[in-house]
Amino acid sequence: MAASIAAAVVGGFTEVETNVWELPPTGAMRVPGRIYASRALVEALDEKVREQVAHVASLPGIVGASYAMPDAHWGYGFPIGGVAAFDPEQGGIISAGGVGFDISCGVRTYRTGLKAVDLGEKLETLAHDLYRTVPAGIGSQGAIRLDDAELDQMLLGGARWAVERGWGEASDLPRVEERGCMAGANPGAVSRRARDRQHSEVGTLGSGNHYLELQAVDKVFDAAAAAAFGVESGDLLATIHCGSRGLGHQIGTEFMQSLAAAAPRYGIALPDRELACAPIRSPEGERYLGAMRAAINCAFANREVIGSLVRKVFARHFPSARVTLLYDVSHNTCKAEEHVVAGVSRKLFVHRKGATRAFGPGHPDLPDEYKATGQPVLIGGTMGTYSFILAGTRESESRAFSSSCHGAGRKMSRTQAKKLWQGKALIRELGAGGIVIKAHSAAGAAEEAPGAYKDVEEVAAVAEAVGLSKRVARVRPIACVKG
């Protein structure tokens, strides 16, 4: 039998080790492209992802490689599931396309102190109350109205602002990235339009793939880490997926425009205008950084306020339940972080677009209770499939600047999904399978059909196999509120 010496090549990517695929630098690429994925995931990859990985690799000041996570799909400028770090000392850039429209969109999971089996008949009532209490769907408004001065406080304070105003609990803060308050926010860089869009949207879930879910811990992979995260099999969890709402979308829209216009002034040729970027050390780059950080605080505040509504609902039905935060991650961000590259510690600006930060054990930013396990990495599935709780690893630092995947990732367009599934029938079908769906839009639910997404189990397994993060627990949905 002749041993094959040729490495597998799929769609331009060469498999350099199991589940690690490289795109060698050609043309304008300054570094290689690298995707962490199984062969099946690479084969299913949109051609556009390879193109976008290559484009990102061509941007000034990029360090290491242009990375794509196992759930990568076609995005705007950067692929969704894209990770790229830039060094300001080497002309590194910051890109609005590298963060995306929904700045600091993320996942927050609460422990409830209850077992899923304890819900029994109350599941329907609880789900309905969550649906009634947490504003969701197109154009929904929250109970909070912010004038400009208060909005500035929110943009500076993030989740801490919400806690100070009584819409959250101080004990949550250490378990939110940046301890709930992103430093360096510049409300002065947030336009009138962005402010107007947020006036009544604090504490709203939005629509599309955003959700509020009740989940049962279905399987534990790592008992020690699960114990540190305070979860065990059968536990009832509540998970929120949403972002910075209208304010973040407007900031994304405006800076996509202005940074695309700025790039040529700094001699940066953009192969795609949605890579919209400027040097980190430029007035335009700094302005975007300040506005984006304000939007991160907006997302923190938003999820904290929604969390306080979830607590209210639990208090009505289970007065003795103690709802505590497991963790809150963001997956559309650019963060200044210290990373060791070839033995030297450097301050890099790490873009994670549809990718989750995944600090390993011992990282100084982790709260004490997670120091030994690594950061909780919360991976959202779909309303009909599992979600995962993973933990950051030490290995992830050298793999992709301590990053991991963020969700299942779509494999089918919304149009196609609507052709295949009918909203009401889908909701009935999921109901028969034990998942209560409360949707503001039945057609919207059809677009979010579980079958329209990639297999989240494979995504999580690959993330573990290549050392991006390790699986701690698998959870299954039992009720889902959709916008």
Partner: protein
């Protein structure tokens, strides 16, 4: 006239018409049908007019749809009618758009759509003559 086209995660919106302006109006209708499936019954009670300029028609289309998204989200107006005029100012090398949009205050109890648009993007952005008519399209992040 409008239709939707495929995109992996979001929605492609395409308008058609006799002129670029008509195609822009069609794309706007497609955009607002995402927010309310029954746009025909929306009354033209509230009017907004605005002007935009851009170096090319694609940039103008993206700016136009973003202006409408921002007006919807910021002022909570559901637009259903769009009068668009586009002029090319050759000397300045720009295209100028004037739009009068009419609709009614958005009411989540009465208006039911599919998904909330976050922003119009340059992905698949195209304004061109095709088969004897104009089309104006781009992908909208939802």
């Amino acid at each position: 006239m409008h239709e939707y086209f495929e995109h992996a995660a979001d929605v492609g919106v395409r308008g058609f018409g006799e002129s670029p302006a008509d195609a822009f109006a069609g794309a706007a209708t497609g955009l607002f049908l995402l927010i309310d499936a029954d746009l025909d019954s929306v009354r033209p009670e509230v009017q907004e007019s605005f002007e935009l300029e851009a170096p090319d028609l694609e940039a103008l289309l993206v700016a136009y749809l973003n202006e409408l998204i921002s007006l919807f989200d910021g002022r909570r107006i559901l637009f259903s009618r769009f009068h668009v005029r586009i002029d090319e100012e050759r000397q300045r090398g720009i295209f100028r758009l004037r739009c009068e949009a009419a609709g009614e205050p958005f009411d989540p109890a009465r208006h039911h759509g599919v998904v909330e648009p976050k922003g119009a993007t340059y992905t698949a952005a195209r304004v061109a003559r095709s088969d004897g008519r104009w089309l104006a399209q781009c992908v909208v992040d939802v």
